[in-house]
């Protein structure tokens, strides 16, 4: 009987502290406005990023009727090489200079007694493409002259390792989703750390603990408040960037565990920082390394081994695996388990250090 009423009383205390925190946050209209503006800004960044991967080299050509491009590339036009025909060399040059339709061009000789192929390179064309274009021009000429390639099997026996994603690459927009989710988590946890630091600095935490509330109620309230605040904002972001289209339950689970992780570090930063500015500094010091896994996902290739040991790695990997590659529960279960462990460790560490700080006030 008494244990039941203890639980009720404890939950009332925790709810009261959370309500106080929420009121404190919402009272600062400017802060609320800026948080909303930040969220809008992240969503805007997402929709401004390229939603498709341009895998095609579009080449403008003049006088190519007698030459066959597929002889060289071994591919159909839809697989990386697109040809746009122009009537005259001047038209082609103008198009290459403008750079909207084509950035490279080739003018084939009409008079075969003076066999020169002119390759036009537009502004900003990378050197690798220039090299490839001169190579293509040469190979077209070799093919037209009936000279066989120096090796066999080239372009006809293509060996592809791994899943062939040509034509269905993951866009930069998609790759940015974990990064944006992390940014929201960081900002919200900065807010939590600031709140904790100000309670320590102003000793309101001491005032709270002379009421029937205990230090554990204070810590529980902060952990729940921080997790809820971060979770709600990341979910809003994910809805706005269509991040819940694939595996919504897995995504929500991952984001919840990520919010717990971030709250743990937020409590830690809030305990260490003496004032708002030092809280920002400590938060940044903790969170910038945590951004690394999300940044690593922006680049091709497997993450380095040391990155996989970072607490934020499983969160970033689950978000990208589910939203971009359609992974299911069984695919990401080990990562979710790892994330839960990291979250528990971070929360435990933040809890212990904050409790020690409060008790020594």
């Amino acid at each position: 009987m008494s244990s039941g009423s203890d639980v009720t009383s404890k939950s009332t205390m925790v709810r009261a502290i959370m309500a106080k925190d929420l009121k404190e946050f919402s009272r600062d209209r400017f802060y609320v406005f800026m948080s909303i503006l930040g969220l809008v800004f992240y969503v805007l960044i997402f929709w401004l990023l390229p939603s498709e991967v341009d895998e095609t080299i579009t080449v403008g050509v003049v006088g190519s009727e007698q030459f066959d491009f597929t002889e060289v590339s071994g591919r159909a036009e839809s697989e990386g090489l697109a040809i746009v025909e122009y009537e005259t060399t001047d038209e082609l040059k103008a198009a290459v200079e403008e750079g909207d339709t084509v950035v490279v061009g080739m003018a084939f000789p009409t008079d075969l007694s003076n066999p020169t192929i002119e390759v036009y390179i537009g502004p900003g064309v990378p050197p690798s493409l220039e090299t490839a274009m001169t190579g293509i021009a040469s190979e077209i000429a070799y093919a037209a002259a009936g000279v066989p390639p120096p090796v066999s099997g080239f372009a006809t026996e293509e060996i592809i390792l791994g899943t062939d994603r040509a034509g269905s690459q993951v866009s930069l927009q998609e790759k940015f989703k974990p990064m944006l989710a992390f940014m929201v988590l960081i900002v919200e946890v900065l807010a939590l750390a600031g709140l904790v630091a100000s309670e320590i600095q102003n000793r309101t935490v001491k005032a709270i603990t002379v009421t029937p509330a205990k230090v554990s109620d204070f810590l529980t309230a902060k952990a729940l408040f921080g997790t809820s605040l971060a979770f709600v904002q990341v979910v809003i972001l994910l809805v706005a960037v269509r991040g819940l289209d694939n595996g919504p339950l897995i995504m929500l689970t991952a984001v919840f565990l990520g919010s717990v992780l971030a709250t743990g570090f937020g409590l830690l930063a809030g305990s260490i920082g003496k004032d708002f500015m030092s809280v920002i500094f400590w938060s940044m010091l903790i969170f910038i390394p945590l951004l690394i896994p999300a940044m690593a996902l922006l680049f091709p290739g497997e993450a380095a081994t040391w990155i996989t040991f970072m607490p934020s790695y499983p969160l970033a990997q689950v978000l990208i695996d589910v939203s971009a590659y359609g992974a299911g529960w069984s695919d990401v279960a080990p990562l979710l388990g790892l994330l839960a462990l990291w979250g528990a460790a971070a929360l435990g560490m933040g809890w212990l250090i904050l409790r020690k700080r409060v008790q020594t006030l």
Partner: protein, 365 residues
């Protein structure tokens, strides 16, 4: 009769300002924010040069395993715009290509060159990563074929002439430099003075200072001078790190001075108006976009450039970019810089009014 508070806010006593300035300098090694301002140029340079350059303009990546000391490997080392890596083990190469650590892999067995020269058309072990872009597959495939043609010798049946059309584009590293420079100057000249004023307000040391012979003008003057000097240092450091001085240190210093003065005014205003650190940080988070947006137009030059001119910071960012990217002289950018100077002068009365307001607020408790 003039209001004494007003007078004290308007005139800077060099002696008092110098005392406050030297106190801020002495305390700066203990401030994590100063450390942050000093680290920013270095960290951003590493990030931009090492990370974002590859993100927006990724190079095709080729791994070569050469068991036969082929000429292909020698020539591949000189390829421009292609990231070539050499490995010793064929299975390591296959793993790397499969896990998308490279776009393609090439295995050259013993005797490959001899077979090509003898016209035997040996098979080419060329592996493509499934996640590589179709365009990179073509680039690497054709380039590899051309390298093998190099062993074969002989003249191609046609001459290939490369014609550069239009102006040569500016490298991404260079296009991102305005943002880097802006970040270095903004943190040092705007964020640090703003944070310093807010911190003094929160700690009530500002009120304590004002009961001393020092005036609000002295405090603001000292904070501003500290921000300007720090910004000149971080800005110059950023240019050195990015190899962008190009023997025009004098021109850069003038541009940086305009940048630092303008940003310090914004920082002082922010510090004087923000009631606490949280408000200041929130304002910085949202308001910085208004200062930073002109830099975006250098990263994406196809955007309508007139929009950049709406930002006050354009009037020092553009001169800096033109000096760095186009080798412009002071006379070429003087007009734009003059507009920047006008903005600085126009902001002076606003700063003075804000200082008077703050002094009144503090005096009234």
């Amino acid at each position: 009769m003039a209001d004494p508070a007003q007078e004290s806010a308007d005139f800077v006593s060099t002696r008092h300002a110098a005392t406050i300035f030297s106190r801020d300098v002495k305390l700066s090694p203990r401030s994590p924010l100063i450390l942050y301002a000093l680290l920013i140029p270095f960290l951003l340079t590493v990030l931009v040069q090492g990370v974002f350059g590859d993100l927006f303009a990724p190079q095709p990546r080729l791994i070569i395993v050469d068991d036969g000391h082929s000429q292909v490997s020698v020539d591949a080392e000189n390829l421009e715009g292609i990231a070539v890596t050499f490995m010793d083990d064929r299975s390591d190469m296959l793993d790397a290509v499969e896990s998308n650590d490279a776009d393609a892999g090439l295995y050259l067995p013993v005797g490959f060159d001899d077979a090509v020269i003898a016209g035997e058309q040996p098979p080419l072990e060329f592996y493509i990563g499934g996640e590589s872009l179709a365009s990179n597959r073509i680039i690497l495939g054709v380039t590899t074929l051309e390298l093998v043609r190099g062993i074969e010798g002989g003249e191609p049946p046609v001459e290939v002439e490369v014609v550069q059309v239009g102006e040569v584009g500016t490298d991404l590293d260079l296009r991102m430099l305005p943002m880097l420079l802006m970040m270095a100057v903004a943190v040092a000249a705007a964020f640090i003075p703003a944070a310093s004023i807010v911190q003094e307000k929160e700690d009530r040391t500002l009120s304590a200072l004002l009961v001393s012979p020092a005036s609000m003008a002295d405090v603001i003057g000292a904070k501003g001078a500290f921000g300007v000097l720090l910004a000149l240092f971080t800005g110059f450091f950023t240019l050195i790190l990015n190899d962008a001085l190009l023997g025009k240190a004098g021109v850069h210093l003038i541009i940086l001075l305009v940048a630092a003065l303008m940003m310090v005014e914004f920082g002082l205003l922010l510090g004087m108006f923000a009631r606490d650190s949280a408000t200041m940080f929130a304002a910085w988070k949202g308001g910085a976009i208004l200062l930073f947006f002109p830099t975006v137009f250098y990263i994406w030059p196809n955007l309508p450039q007139w929009i950049a001119k709406l930002g006050p910071t354009y009037y020092f960012i553009d001169p800096a970019f033109r000096v760095i990217a186009e080798g412009a002289d002071l006379s070429d950018v003087a007009g734009t810089l003059a507009i920047g100077a006008v903005i600085i002068l126009a902001l002076v009365p606003v700063v003075v009014l804000a200082a008077r307001r703050l002094e009144r607020t503090l005096a009234s408790g």
